[in-house]
Subunit: 322 residues, 2 copies
Amino acid sequence: VTIEDRVSGFVEAFRDDRWLVAVSGGADSVALLHLLVEQGFRDLVVCHLDHGLRGTASTEDAEFVKSLAAELGLECEVGTENVKRLMAERSESLETAARNARHAFFARCAEKFQCHRVLLAHHADDQAETGLWNLLRGSRGLKGMRERQDLTTESGVKLELFRPLLGVRRSDLIDWLNFRNRSWREDASNQVADVARNRLRHDVFPVLDSISGRSAAEMICRALEGARDLEEVEAWATEKAGVLDPQGRLHVPVLRALPPGLQRAVVMDYLRKSGVGGIDRDLISRVIGLMDANSPPAVNLPGGASMRRQASRMFIRTKVSK
Amino acid sequence: VTIEDRVSGFVEAFRDDRWLVAVSGGADSVALLHLLVEQGFRDLVVCHLDHGLRGTASTEDAEFVKSLAAELGLECEVGTENVKRLMAERSESLETAARNARHAFFARCAEKFQCHRVLLAHHADDQAETGLWNLLRGSRGLKGMRERQDLTTESGVKLELFRPLLGVRRSDLIDWLNFRNRSWREDASNQVADVARNRLRHDVFPVLDSISGRSAAEMICRALEGARDLEEVEAWATEKAGVLDPQGRLHVPVLRALPPGLQRAVVMDYLRKSGVGGIDRDLISRVIGLMDANSPPAVNLPGGASMRRQASRMFIRTKVSK
């Protein structure tokens, strides 16, 4: 299966549209850009954010991206941000500050170019690393990046992120570039030296490959596809369970009749949609414990609200300010 | 949370029953045995299979287990198997031959002691290793061991396997034993030196712990609990989807109305229950492609049968022998 085959669905659907393309200058995003042009995309805006983290190399990355856009006859927007300073000002991790800075930059581009769809070059190796990393942080099941993701930035701008390369290995992108004699900026895609991710890539994946005799990245991506299906199934089942009464409260007899795993899914969905934060398995268990008519009729929720049981209904009572 | 807390549900439900307990002589199973006795289990049969893989150490393991059972006043059954020979005779991997030999041994014990329920000492670290290992083999989503597992052995004996320690860390079991001054046989629980598993344990988990700053085993176990919920939700949704007509065929208009992830779940379930082997994502996609009225009306299945579309139904036609 060629790279072109893997993106053909995306290409057919979206070739004639305008897109913002996030280009760091690294192999991944440079390959994405050339691929899009080769596949007939014309209305592309190359967007590059200089994070100011790599000294003169950062400036050279930006220059490289500008020349590339000019060579391809594409519009180009370069932004500059002092991510280290943002990080200090906002007491965020480097990764978080950098991500927020990128989103804010995309938001500015979106308004300037009247285009709210952003193409990102995340590929199968990134996806596998994300899956493993989320697993190490205790995700529910297995979770990767979405091919399409809706996002509202802090400034309130809505963006749609698209990742058409999630099924393509990094090494295939490099081969693709080399075959075409295209150059890129080494390390530019790793502007924010993500220590955890780099260690997964260099210290863990090669060992996993060697233990299983297969490509761990490919296996994890395959498992992630299955996990995506299960999320879709869960959304359908949560809806189909029909536990909400006309007032939007949980109907206890209906909830009780569901298998325990679906009870937990339904309660989690209810809490999430009610804007409750800090939902974990323990909280969900305590809310489900409310179904027992012999238990106390209320459970405290993070943030001061509470979940109450009354006349075979369960619902959230927000904190009453005095 | 103490170990006793973690097994209290199991203890309450099953304390008065008869159980076979698989005891290798290693820390895990020795801890399980002492814990059961301390929690008031009385009708236990200690079952030990000597795999014949560790030379005189194997014999010493068996002697250790026999003395322990005698000391605790419990019945004890020791079996001996030449797993290396079985492996050669049956062209199986060492792991598979050993597992089959254990199941055959449990089946003999089940008949002899009229008890078909077997307690196993798998703990949270085993569970995390299994989850990661299955992931590396491309499992659909995340898959671990079940707390309860029904099994029919090759000889046709039905067994129920129970794993009450899946929520307990190995180190907690060791502390528990040390606090009570109980001894065990080092390495006995690793009779079959599982190279992949040992490398995960020694070369991967410590690195993952150090990268994430948390216990990878605990995080993976947490994710596995979520994944178990999702499996339950999937089973419910597959049933609720109502795609089978009275003749047990897939009803295309109903199938078409489902979200793609649930379509795949339903088709996978249908193929599995029809005894089709070698089901992968590609096969499922091809079967789903049959829904398209413009496609050829049949798809070959592994094993010679085929899946056919006729009058808005899809069903399996078995190979007609001439």
